[in-house]
Amino acid sequence: MSEEIEQKEESLFEAPPIAEQERMIEAILFASAEPVSVAELNARMPHGSDAAEALAHLRKRYEGRGVRVVRVGDAWAMRTAPDLGFLMQKETVEQRKLSRAAIETLAIIAYHQPVTRAEIEAIRGVSVSRGTIDLLLDMEWIRFGRRKMTPGRPVTFVVTQGFLDHFGLENARDLPGLKELRSAGLLDSTPPGLGPTPSEGEEGDDDENQSEMFEEE
């Protein structure tokens, strides 16, 4: 309803020195609990600043510290070093116990995205309950992706920035074992060397999917 228009900071002055820009990014990332996109950093910093460059410096500065600068998709955040987790009992948040079905569904969405419900069901060999999808949506680990260009134009699911943040992933390409799975043909819908079978005629989309897989937000 009410459109927010970022007011571009118009400054006649030159961009601040890079060391100062680094301080600014440090302050912004430090103050925020959620990842901040490069676009937002640039918007908040004085005109002419180069958030990407300053980020690279900042990241280096925090290497090996108790707090790190991490990339989450196209955004950045500060997070404590994982090896210090033991100090944080007080801050530890109760993790939601996920069912095996939910965990598998999440993994399938992450590795096969964008993926339709029918495809998830084909992989698991059982139907996916509405509750499982709802739970993952509710946790904001998955979201709806583009509709598939197949008959019925089914919705697809993709993982979110929140998912990447939670599992400490820079982007979906960093999923553990992704490359091996792909080269083993296990992200396809048919075994290597076999044509599409009647039961899984959607094979043609696969190559397309994989290029789509890392669509930007």
Binding site: A31, P82, M88, E91, I103, R124, F167, L175, L194
Partner: protein, 263 residues
Amino acid sequence: MTDSDQGSFEEDRMSVAERMAAEALIVDVDGFEGPLDVLLTLSRTQKVDLRKVSVLQLAQQYLSFVEKAKALRIELAADYLVMAAWLAFLKSRLLLPPDPTEEGPSGEELAAHLAFQLERLQAMRDVAARLMARDQLGRDFFKRGLPEDVTRLRTVTYSANLLDLMQAYARIRTRDEFRPFVLDRESVFTMEQALDRMRGLIGFAGQWTDILSYLPEGWETDPIKRRSATAATFAASLELAKEGHVEIRQSETFAPIELRRKD
């Protein structure tokens, strides 16, 4: 594996441990997530790389699993039975020499696809486990505990275009024209009012008098009011004549209408 002299590679090829495992499967059938899950578990009893799993043997294992379930009177969901039927079909395809007239994928292709499905499901389970074993936010690493909120300096600007403005004006100016139709009572003189008025006056009408002289004060000049009052007075005069209180006459068309008291 123990060789059996009975020839059939079915149950006897299974070790005691395997048999117990198979029985545990049945007892535990609720814990399985469908036929594919059962097949995957059964394939582990072959103790080989999933890529080298014997689908024929697996089909046999599954069929005997379903048989045992039936013997134990365990209700299996329909999809377990559908899988059993399909595996029975696959088994026959694998065992019989290929029929050149048969259409569709060969038994080997179907078997390869099943093996692929199992391998893929297992792969997904493996990566799911790896994913969950990662450091997790809120458990191993943490976000800022006391985020400093960004204060939003909100400037509100209002927008309206010329069309909005004109439509608004048009709306106001047409509002009047659209009130529901009601008679303007102020310029209507009813027959009842005329009757009341004339009843009080006819006592003095001993002579023929133009009925227009009975128009109420202030109604003679405004044409709308005059018309209404005239009509009401005329109607009231007729009513009084009907009741026998007055007499009415008119000398010719459009001549004044006169009335007088009837004694």
